[in-house]
Symmetry: D2
Subunit: 366 residues, 4 copies
């Protein structure tokens, strides 16, 4: 398994290079009987489309998704759903300047060392464009979760030194940086404009909240729900850190500060606080799941950088063309997608945990 498959029950296999013919995904394990149409996918996919603001590459791609299989008369069949997005703007511009050069901060060197051969056009498979397939699969998972009453919502928490100070969910889609705080968004734009003028780039943090989550979901030991989320989110290019609940801050707290007490609320036990971030011992505790991912600054910058090439020569390069000065805003929908895929996969697996649930299921059929 060479790394382009994810999920155990809801099984996602993505494909495609940045400047190849198409990108896409096959999802095996989508339950039958779900309403699904191309618009469900398209509306989510359009959120990651390039060219929507000053702060994203202007590559011109309509990113129109086509469902090739697995849906019949508006409903999922239980068979694999293949989705494809053809590349339009993949004409070979001139790559001779970087064809055999290892761009700092990029995956070029690793791919070359691993395969001895690489697609140098726009990063090939290591491009952010690879996430097209993830978002298509994520759209299905999000729709399935919504049907179960579970919501997944990600947004930009900080860009460079600018963090959000308030939370207004409506605001997220009103500013180009997908921040839930209009003031912070303004300040971040100012910061980004300065970066761009200095031919430099910025990083930031995405936060994600999953609400409506039932308690008891996640597998103990290696497949803890937070461990799977960690892999899912860390598999997004440029992520350098992942934390849940208090995260790294928990290392500084005392047990008496970090523990969440329990109380009774109607016929349910619930936590009094949520330092844990909704997961205890790898299993959901019924509270909101809250995690954060740190993204490094975009490695493609127009400043001169020192590097080497395949011929073992050192040289300086300047990366031309317009690149996203920050990838954090466009990563929001990708984080949401990976979270949705992971959570739905865990919900499926959790159904097999107890013999009584299994007996109920089969009794129903008799």
């Amino acid at each position: 398994m060479a790394g382009s498959c994810f999920g155990k029950q809801f099984r996602v296999s993505t494909f495609g290079e940045s400047h190849g013919k198409a990108l896409g995904v096959v999802v095996d394990g989508v339950p039958a009987g779900m309403d699904l149409c191309e618009e469900d996918i398209q509306s989510m996919l359009s959120r990651r489309k390039p060219g929507q603001s000053l702060y994203t590459t202007k590559r011109d791609e309509p990113d129109k998704v086509e469902i090739l299989s697995g849906v019949f008369e508006g409903k999922t069949l239980g068979t694999p759903i293949a989705m494809v997005v053809y590349n339009k703007d993949q004409k070979s511009k001139d790559y001779s300047a970087i064809k055999d050069v290892f761009r700092p901060g990029h995956a070029d060197f690793g791919f070359y060392e691993k395969y001895g051969f690489r697609d140098y056009r726009g990063g090939g498979r290591s491009s952010g464009r690879e996430t097209v397939g993830r978002v298509c699969a994520g759209a299905i998972a999000k729709k399935a979760l919504a049907f179960l009453g579970i919501d997944v919502c990600a947004y930009v928490k900080s860009i460079g030194p600018v963090s959000v100070a308030s939370f207004d969910r409506e605001e997220i889609f009103k500013n180009p940086l997908f921040m839930p705080d209009a003031d912070a968004s303004k300040k971040a734009e100012t910061y980004l404009n300065a970066c761009m003028e200095e031919k430099d780039s910025a990083g930031g943090v995405v936060e994600c909240v999953i609400s409506g989550m039932p308690a008891g979901v996640g597998e103990p030991v290696f497949d803890k729900l937070d461990a799977r989320l960690a892999q899912a989110v860390f598999s997004i290019g440029a992520v350098k850190g992942f934390e849940i609940g208090e995260g790294f801050g928990a290392a500084l707290l005392r047990g008496s500060e970090n523990n969440d007490g329990f109380k009774v609320c109607g016929d349910k036990v619930v936590k009094e606080t949520n330092h844990a971030g909704g997961i205890l011992g790898g299993i959901s505790d019924g509270d909101d799941i809250v995690f954060r991912a740190a993204f490094k600054p975009t490695p493609s910058i127009a400043q001169k950088q020192h590097t080497a090439n395949e011929a073992l020569e050192e040289l300086d390069i300047e990366i031309t063309g317009r690149h996203d000065p920050v990838i954090v805003p466009r990563a929001v929908v990708v984080v949401e997608s990976m979270a949705a895929i992971t959570i739905f996969d865990a919900l499926l697996e959790n159904m097999l945990s107890g013999i009584d649930g299994i007996a109920d299921f089969y009794k129903k059929d008799k």
Copy 2:
């Protein structure tokens, strides 16, 4: 797959409850022809044994490992290696006080919600004792890596507010907190003594360095080497954050500060700096891999805490018995184990990346 299996090629299946008959592991995929004996496992396992310092539980367990299969005449057979550690000190002390109570910060509630039934003796499967099997498997992986010239070394980076300021590898095993800095260790002991007096506990950070790593290892997209490390490390109980290289700090840097240039060194291309932490685009870049994990404070504290029980009653509990006031030092060898398992697994998978390597392998046999 209910979560107790890990690894794709080097396949680890652990078992055992805190107060059950035994704990252990079966490892399938250990290559044939490796020298291996019980002492190789025991020496690593003894590093996580309880009762070795003031700061660990005094449960009396010899933790003697027995290899049941897969080794013949001192060499691995290529068949599964089963290893078992019998529990000695599992006599049922009186659990009536916590039997149906959800301890704050523990996995009790999640297990109860998931399975409707749980082993209340010492946390059962959610106990830190579950890591016995991981360390046994990790010892094999570490030995295999050493044979390939790769070293894995973890240590305590900080406890509560006390961080190490210098690095002396020899020092790690000289102090009870496994810190590479004798001064910091002293200060951390003082801090822990205060915590204990206040019936409280502390968290901290473990850092791990993998050196001697060849470039080109790791699978792009979902099985990025750092994504797999993230899952591996996050699957250790009490981990709340994971970061690599600059980690969360990278979100604050500019691209020009965070990018690592390349240079030529003999007949190899190497990086000039290591902000990336040894992995670019999910593939090792030939530099040291450096990651950190944040651990929360031990949830078992002797202070009075508010909680609820299975009968939907609220109550206060005080957790008696001596518990580790900090689990970070004992987690060091577990982090090392999970890192070794992950890295060796990735090295195996990487062998299948190119057709020329495959042809070489089979030509050899002809």
Copy 3:
């Protein structure tokens, strides 16, 4: 994954060599809340014990199983169940005669070519003794199936040229050959006695019937229920053929003869005949599942045989010691075990097929 793991949801990992310290299995994915005790396992395991008749090796092994984990207060915890059987009679007899020789019909040569190193004591991992772990896991699966109203029953259909002509389920456990026909069993014994006198061995066929099976179970395409049964049964040493329903005979029939019509029976649709053997298009059709496996004659025979050794010398060998002149009767419980594991695994997976079943499951919890 080096081949000792089986099952997707009910995940079986076996270990152990013929003359090693112990054999056993870890089963991950056993649902919580099932009644389970060692006697449930032991009663099934004892059916494959050596030394029970004239026709089995007289190796003296009590084959006493010990449950090490996953069961608490008589119920499964949902955590991995590890089971171990220590070898008693593994004293090294003198293997010098066959140590470096490739026995005809055995796995010796393949293991040597694959690993360059092998456990020559009684075949090591390739011994029939490897099936101890399978039967322990199979006992759990059989118990779970019984709870769901599903029965798995295997028996000997033929030995050499002697086939059963009638079916009396009670009879199966009354004769040493596990045939459901007392007359056939007598004739087969006569045949086997002749084989033994001529220092030769015999093969035969095992048939297995799974009744009480709900319709709709099995995954289309690669994980068809019969395809998984084929792998499961073919993974038993000495199996050379597998067929379902009319099997190879179907190749000779016309469509009009082989098709099973449907009829309505109460509120259910059922088949009029069962040429299909209970599976259509890889999915159970509600009828009995009926399959057969062909076993080759025991390769260990006392006649002189021509072969070669590791030193590339040709030589003649005579295999001494008493060996089963036919392995078919002892394979019956192994076939039953593999069938039960496969069917239960498929039942678990099938629960995830439809969005309505999933919504029902989670609504229940709300």
Copy 4:
């Protein structure tokens, strides 16, 4: 994992319904650096195209494959290869007669019971058209095997009562039934013409020979090479039996007849005979691998048949339109594909068996 993925290292995910928009496959784990172009796929795919003889459906499909990803400048990138074949002739003919009826011998009933919803147009996912993706993936595996000196060749062994009596490899592609014996092919055509006149259908047997196979490939226990082949081949629709070497015939032989002696040939040990069919103990023995699969007669026949529908009514149906009177000839290339996928997958996995091979691989890079 809902059943449309196959292979562990060479990972195949197929998609598509008979009358949906497209069919295809994503293959993850194709090694980098292989020469590959669409013609490599097309030439194999064209062998399964409908309408090539009297004995196949006349559905008009060009079955033109398009490679969407994973190939750059004529070489594989090591990234997933997605291949798609658009359906042309999928106009909805009138399905009202069979829309809610369970056709005897078809998967209709199982799909309905499993999913509660099905694509009734031409069988949907259960159609033989599903194999388009398998053949595309098989073409890559066959090419990789050829590079390693391994050949996979399947052909029709028998149709109804007519078996081949001689073997002429050239002949296979000269007759419409893909039989290696011109006389047998003639007789089989006569037999099929009679079946068609009687509105009936026939079954048959496909045999497959894999030559050039190195010894030592295959994983012991559950992933025996023959067990994986059994699953691979049994996953093809209409297969009812699978056997290797002497197969079911071995059950009738004595050990002295069935065992293959070894001899020394140059610097290699080889078998004197090949009753085993090239696999011993689940591991290749260096000899040709020879297996057979039994196919049932095509279930779609024009005769009147009794059946039931979703409304629980009994009725008679006559299946109109021209259907293949035998599917065996068109299955040949599918058997070859599944064999090639399975063998190449096993060769990849086998590379991880010994520590010396691993050390050699990484030393090479240093």
